[in-house]
Amino acid sequence: MTERNYATVNPCVMCQPIGSVMAFKGIENSMVMLHGSQGCSTYMRLHLAHHFREPVDIGSSSLSEKGAVYGGSENLKKGLKNLILRYNPKVIGVSTTCLAETIGDDIGRIIAEFREEEDIAYDVMIIPVPTPSYEDSHNSGYIKAVEAIVKEFTAGGIHGSGIFNNKLNVVLSENVSPEDTRELRRIFSDIIGPNSFILLPDISETFDAPMTGELQKIFSGGTPHSAIADMKNSAATIGLGIANNNKAVRYLERAFDIPSQDLPLPIGLEYTDSLLAALSGTAGIDVPETYQKERGRLIDAMVDSHKYVYGIKVAIYGDPDNVLGMLSLALENGMHPVLVAASGKSPGFAGHAMERVRQVKPDCDVTILEDVDFDTFNDAVKKAKPDMLIGNSNGKYVAKEMGIPLVRVGFPIHDRVGAQRILSLGYLGAMNMLDRITNTILEAQEEKLAEKWSEPESYVPFGEDTFHSAEA
């Protein structure tokens, strides 16, 4: 094999704008407009629809050659106007694409002009996010958009009372499933009270809407506007995700003096423990009995599984904080992670992964990769020879080639139903993941056993000889 230094073969990442779309879809009554050519929005809609199995509407300024040459201001304004006329959103995220960034459109100025020119623009909040696709990855697009949202809503005192609300801000730095988001809300509601926290972004309803027989132009749900504006009055902030710099958390701390703490995504026993401990500490209350029971059941499940998963070699890949969580879960169950790979580059990923391995299984020989494409990852998988893979659908090719199972989690999952319902957070999520992992191992072993039985050379006819020897 020739070394590759230039070409990317089978990318692990998507571009920044799609991350910003996921963030804006977690805001109440919001839409996104991508400033660029028509294809960007269509491809991202397709990609998200495949995963969430919901209609996904994303506007486009549909830049043409003329726009690319003379600037996209006219198209962007027209696009915004049409989007408002048809969808009547209260918030519009305007994310740039590589095209808009390169022709150098000044989005802020265009939006200001639009506000002046159009009456309709006044009651709509328009939030620009620069997301050139030649920088970073979808994950950084997500973090940037969340920061932009927080900044815009907490600025100027248009919204919010300015009165200390004694609430806890919870800011995600990684896209998790709608089911996971519902689980987070349950945990926070149960432990610190239903009105004591603000979760941002919240895709629990917007990317997993119930069937009502009607089609909503914009799905209901998402973090309410008043709540986002109120984040500046909160008592503390928890940032979920430690691999990346959660910029919204830093901003709240810097601008409004709100103390913050970054915690890993609560995947597996110990990471969930640390979240619950932090919550009980913050609220000054005991962990509710329900959660002690859930925790106890999880440990019961871990005991049930321990012999099957112990020493099983596993390769984990996907978005950085998901990977850190799954790594932690694998380690604490006695699995042997031989390879962990994060899709993009994140400042904290490798260090945290290393630290977790040292804590639990210091003798573990693990390769840590980041910012790789699937071609490099696949080569590493073949070298590491894991017994199974944990990650998104794109690992299916190497899993198939190696004849090993893949437990699907993360984004994108386009070849199975139910990606929006995958639960991996909290004790329940840990139980769910562990059961899936263990059952996958059992299934694979069963298949191997069945193969052995059907192999002619290992087949001993149940004849007299055997009968006698069995007697003897």
Binding site: S37, Y43, A68, M211
Partner: protein, 502 residues
């Protein structure tokens, strides 16, 4: 133009600018035509993609080629193995290659990186051809794709073909042209081995789910050599020999007519527009081909195939028809050829089309469509989700046939759905393909899930008795109340069913 598609304004509520793109077919109206073939309106939420997308879907099924996307990662990421085309040989086309341009490449130009990418990939994959797609940003910064490819071609001695598909430079249709232009550079570069006096190319079939494999044998049975199918299950080698055919059969006219016309001019090869979908259209395709070659023997075999194959599938088709007859269908397709042939397909199953639209139809296509559909059918160009949703409700469609973006829209409205796009995993062409299509419609429309669609759980206790049935009363009333509660439980299940059935 005769009185066909009278544009009835305000068929539905949408942007004023979009009104000319939506028409209700009414024979009496003489008024004008349908607006189409324009760039999408900003903010109109078009279902279309871009020039790159057009080029990508048309060229991508070339199985042994390296398809290298020159641009930032997104374009390659979202189109990785997107087509659903199958290969009988190499699978190189399913791998996603990108030059993954970063900020520095944008500033200093990406030509050097691109040329190194090409070198690397050729060393690794030894492909017979490399297609290099340009994306938006390449068009803006002005990388000279032609020059890089020309130089690399000389160095590696294989065709390295630039595909000029900057996303913003037109519509998806322009992308088809870019793909055809790329194919033109391969055609005629090798001499075909001739095994029959009758030779054709299948154009505009992408072998989604293996479609071509149900069609090619029909022609071969007629004694015809199929030199290549473009681009489904095609190889660089077979494409380079395409000029050895005497006839081109064009199915997806939107993408391949341009190439067929070029081949007529360049190599004197005539073309026919055909379809392999639906009993009538397959028969027409076989008959027209036999007619073209003028061989009596071939005509006889064609009739034999048509007769025996139709007889073979008809019992099941009839049985399915009895279950789907009278239902209404909505068609929203990328190209017009598929839309047109679908109208006939639905008719063969006793269904009526009530909405028909395409992303890339041209004036002539819509004229053809309007000849085919009944009065009161809505014809729409470059539709968006809100328009489609309103139309599905207004026209009372029972089923929609389209692609993934429309699927969940239909589901939310309780409309059954059939994917006739890249995502399907079963063949829809040829005789067995049509059977598959009929089966899918049956499964989709007649599933019991629609009975529950939009239903709500009815309370077991009616409003007037709500308070009475509370915990307090129950404690007091003892066994009597428990019995009543048990009865309520029973009511609950029947009530739910009744409501949902109604």
């Amino acid at each position: 133009m005769p009185e066909i598609t009278g544009v009835v304004r305000n068929v539905i509520s949408t942007l004023d600018e979009r009104q000319p793109y939506i028409a209700l077919k009414q024979v009496k109206k003489e008024d004008t035509t349908l607006a189409c073939d324009n760039t999408s309106i900003a903010g109109s939420m078009s279902q279309r993609a871009c020039v790159y997308s057009g080029a990508r879907v048309a060229l991508n099924p070339v199985t042994d080629a390296v398809h290298l996307v020159h641009g930032p990662i997104g374009c390659a990421s979202y189109t990785w193995d997107i087509r659903g085309s199958l290969s009988s040989g190499k699978e190189t086309f399913r791998t996603s290659f990108s030059s993954n341009m970063k900020e520095l490449d944008v500033v200093f130009g990406g030509e050097k990186k691109l040329s190194k990418c090409i070198d690397e990939l050729i060393a690794l994959y030894r492909p017979p051809v490399v297609f290099v797609y340009s994306t938006c940003i390449v068009g803006i910064i002005g990388d000279d794709l032609q020059a890089v490819c020309r130089e690399a071609s000389l160095q590696h001695d294989i065709p390295i073909i630039p595909v000029q598909s900057e996303g913003f430079k037109g519509t998806k249709s322009d992308g088809y042209k870019a793909a055809c232009n790329a194919l033109m550079q391969l055609i005629g570069t090798r001499e075909p081995e001739i095994s029959s006096p009758y030779r054709i190319n299948i154009l505009g079939d992408y072998n989604v789910a293996g479609d071509v494999w149900l069609v090619k044998p029909l022609f071969e049975k007629m004694g015809i050599q199929v030199i290549t199918s473009m681009t489904g299950d095609a190889t660089a080698d077979s494409i380079s020999k395409a000029h050895g055919a005497q006839l081109n059969l064009v199915q997806c006219s939107g993408s391949m007519t341009y190439l067929a016309k070029w081949m007529m001019k360049e190599y004197d090869i005539p073309f026919r527009k055909v379809s392999y979908f639906g009993i009538e259209d397959i028969a027409t395709a076989l008959r027209e081909t036999a007619e073209f070659f003028g061989s009596r023997e071939m005509k006889r075999i064609a009739e034999e195939i048509i007769e025996s194959e139709t007889r073979r599938i008809m019992p099941e088709i009839r049985s399915i028809r009895s279950r789907v007859r009278g239902k209404t269908a909505a068609i929203y397709m990328g190209g017009a050829a598929k839309a047109l042939t679908l109208i006939k397909g639905f008719r063969e199953l006793g269904m009526e089309v009530v909405i028909i639209g395409t992303q890339t139809g041209k004036q002539e296509d819509y004229r053809q469509i309007s000849y085919q559909v009944k009065d009161g059918t809505v014809i729409v160009d470059d539709a968006n989700p809100l328009e489609l949703a309103e139309l599905l409700v207004r026209q009372k469609a029972d089923l929609m046939v389209a692609g993934v973006k429309e699927r969940f829209l239909a589901y939310k409205l309780g409309v059954a759905f059939c994917d006739f796009n890249h995502d399907r995993v079963i063949e829809f062409e040829g005789y067995d393909g049509f059977l598959n299509f009929a089966r899918e419609l049956d499964a989709s429309m007649n599933s019991p899930v629609w009975k529950f669609h939009g239903s709500r759980l009815k309370p077991a206790v009616d409003a007037a008795r709500k308070n009475e049935a509370g915990l307090k009363t129950r404690q007091g009333a003892g066994i009597e109340a428990t019995a009543r509660e048990a009865k309520n439980m029973h009511d609950l299940s029947t009530a739910t069913l009744q409501e949902s059935v109604a």
